[in-house]
């Protein structure tokens, strides 16, 4: 069978081309006074081109490229997360170790494909060692909150996110050398689900799912977005090791985890009184605004695939 990577990226390029065209037409029709919504839409589409190009280049570079790309994404996400936490001066060493030691070690363990360690490194080793590093400094004020927030940052931004490149380490019979496509499947389904929930919500959204968490999430958007994302995921079964039915189930799990991941991350933002995690990606907000759903979907997808292989 021929490698489906090229037609896949050509398809994504075509979709983005159509999106850019629609954005340009909307902007033209609006004339000199484009609404913020249209400007935001066009900024988002432009950022999508950049993100797809980054993933494309990483795919060309293979395993090393993908690991480096997600290590960088983890770094960007972690600094956004930590920026919103209430650490104190005594936490400086722990913070340095998180960024300069824990993060690189986690991705190195994935590079050498040591499942037995990368799957417990953060939840066991770092979980126990980090509070020790903080405690020996002797500053007990808000100790539990500080340590818990640091642990959460590592779990979300490093551990969970690293399960995307970890898909490359899975040994799936009859799927050798095509593990990159598993990443493509996950990322496409999660992201298209986000986009379609947004589109369905904008078009038909009436009833809010969780008004106190996220004013933009509606039942209409959720149902329409998940249903159409599952349809697209099913239609992509040919790039996966799954049957069409399995692909549909995986897509459903991925989109639901992604949706609830977005809710959880919204709750954190609400608590901290911010609208976005950062300003790194024009139109989208920060790295975590784009990756919140991936973070929640990746480890579950990883383990479901692993049980089945």
């Amino acid at each position: 069978m021929t490698d489906p990577t090229l037609p896949l990226f050509a398809g994504i390029g075509a979709v983005l081309m159509v999106a850019s065209l629609i954005g340009a037409i909307l902007a033209r029709r609006a004339g000199d006074t484009p609404s913020p919504a249209i400007e935001n839409l066009n900024a988002r589409i432009k950022a999508w081109w950049v993100m797809v190009a980054a993933i494309g280049i990483a795919f060309l570079a293979g395993k090393a490229g993908v690991i480096l790309l997600f290590a960088f994404a983890s770094f960007a996400a972690l600094r956004e997360f930590l920026t919103l936490t209430d650490t104190r001066r005594a936490d400086h060493l722990a913070l340095s170790l998180m960024i300069f030691v824990v993060l690189p070690v986690q991705y190195y363990l994935i590079w050498i494909e040591w499942y037995g360690l990368y799957s417990i490194f953060v939840p066991v080793w770092v979980f126990l060692l980090l509070p020790i590093v903080v405690a020996v400094r002797g500053d007990v004020r808000d100790f539990m909150e500080r340590v818990a927030e640091m642990q959460w940052g590592l779990m979300i931004c490093v551990f969970c996110l690293s399960h995307v490149p970890a898909l490359l380490t899975l040994d799936i019979p009859g799927y050798d050398g095509r593990e990159l496509l598993l990443i493509a499947f996950l990322v496409i389904v999660v992201q298209i689900s986000d986009v379609l929930q947004y589109v369905w919500g904008k078009l038909f959204g009436r009833r809010k799912v969780a008004p106190s968490l996220s004013p933009s999430k509606t039942w209409e958007g959720l149902v329409g977005g998940v249903a159409s994302a599952v349809a697209i995921g099913t239609a992509l079964w040919w790039i996966t090791p799954f049957s069409p039915l399995e692909a549909a189930f995986m897509a459903l799990v991925i989109t639901l985890m992604g949706f609830f991941g977005g809710l959880v991350m919204s709750a954190i933002k609400r608590d901290r009184g911010v609208k976005d995690w950062g300003r790194m990606i024009e139109g989208h907000g920060g790295m975590l605004d784009r990756l919140d759903s991936v973070v929640f979907a990746a480890p579950i997808f990883f383990h479901l695939v692993r049980y089945g292989s």
Binding site: L82, F100, P215, R272
Partner: protein
């Protein structure tokens, strides 16, 4: 000539380094960039504070914006002299009242009259306490009284004290923001304490998450 080239190269290096480590972004909420002489007054918790302000200013404005700094610190050795004088073009003032020859306010008004803007830290020293701001020294008032027609722009620097707390060897690359508030001036007949209180309040109002969370256990969730 080589010194000027070295200074230009150092400018690029310093601002690039500041951007990489802190991802610093400007937030022009109350004022827009303006080449007219201004006084930017900011909170001071780290040696890197004015570098951050300097980094987010548009290059044309950055070239004519000079930090006000202690001569004792910036004249100590050759490297600091190069950075302080050639790169940052600091307005150096002598902090020791008894020993000083020139009047610091005079130095600052000279620079403003020559068309430069100033970066000033009215707390007078780095804030090492838990409080978001130390009480302002009177320098800002005297400067405003000497040049009442110059805009005073409050600038709040967030997070740099966490990136590089005192005594730390490695910076932690957290994200920093520099927020520019609405310009203010000395009102006619406004007494010094009232003016300084107003300046402190206008700066504190820019702190993105208000007072430290430890003071109030939960921040109310805002709704859009």
């Amino acid at each position: 000539m080589t010194r000027r080239l070295a200074a230009a190269a150092a400018t690029v290096a310093v601002t690039a380094f500041a951007r990489v480590v802190t991802g610093v972004r400007p937030n022009w909420v109350g004022a827009l960039p303006d080449p007219a002489p201004r006084v930017y007054f900011a909170n001071h918790a780290s040696h890197g504070d004015f570098v951050l302000i300097w980094t987010v200013l548009p290059p044309a404005i950055r070239r004519r914006t000079r930090p006000v700094a202690g001569a004792d610190y910036w004249l100590k050795d050759r490297l600091r002299r190069f950075l302080g004088i050639d790169v940052f073009d600091a307005v150096l003032i002598e902090r020791d009242r008894a020993a000083r020859a020139a009047d610091p306010i005079g130095r600052m008004t000279d620079a403003l009259d020559a068309g430069s803007s100033l970066i000033l830290f009215p707390e007078g020293t780095r804030n090492m306490t838990e409080a978001p701001l130390l009480p302002f020294k009177s320098g800002l008032y005297h400067l405003a009284a000497a040049r009442p027609e110059v805009d005073l722009v409050p600038v709040y620097i967030e997070n740099l004290n966490r990136v590089m707390p005192k005594g730390a060897l490695v910076p932690v690359p957290l994200l920093c923001t520099v927020t520019f508030g609405a310009p203010m001036r000395l009102r006619a007949g406004e007494p010094k304490p009232a003016f300084l209180a107003r300046a402190e309040a206008s700066l504190l109002a820019l702190a993105p998450r208000g007072a430290p969370r430890t003071a109030s256990p939960s921040t109310p969730a805002e709704t859009r």
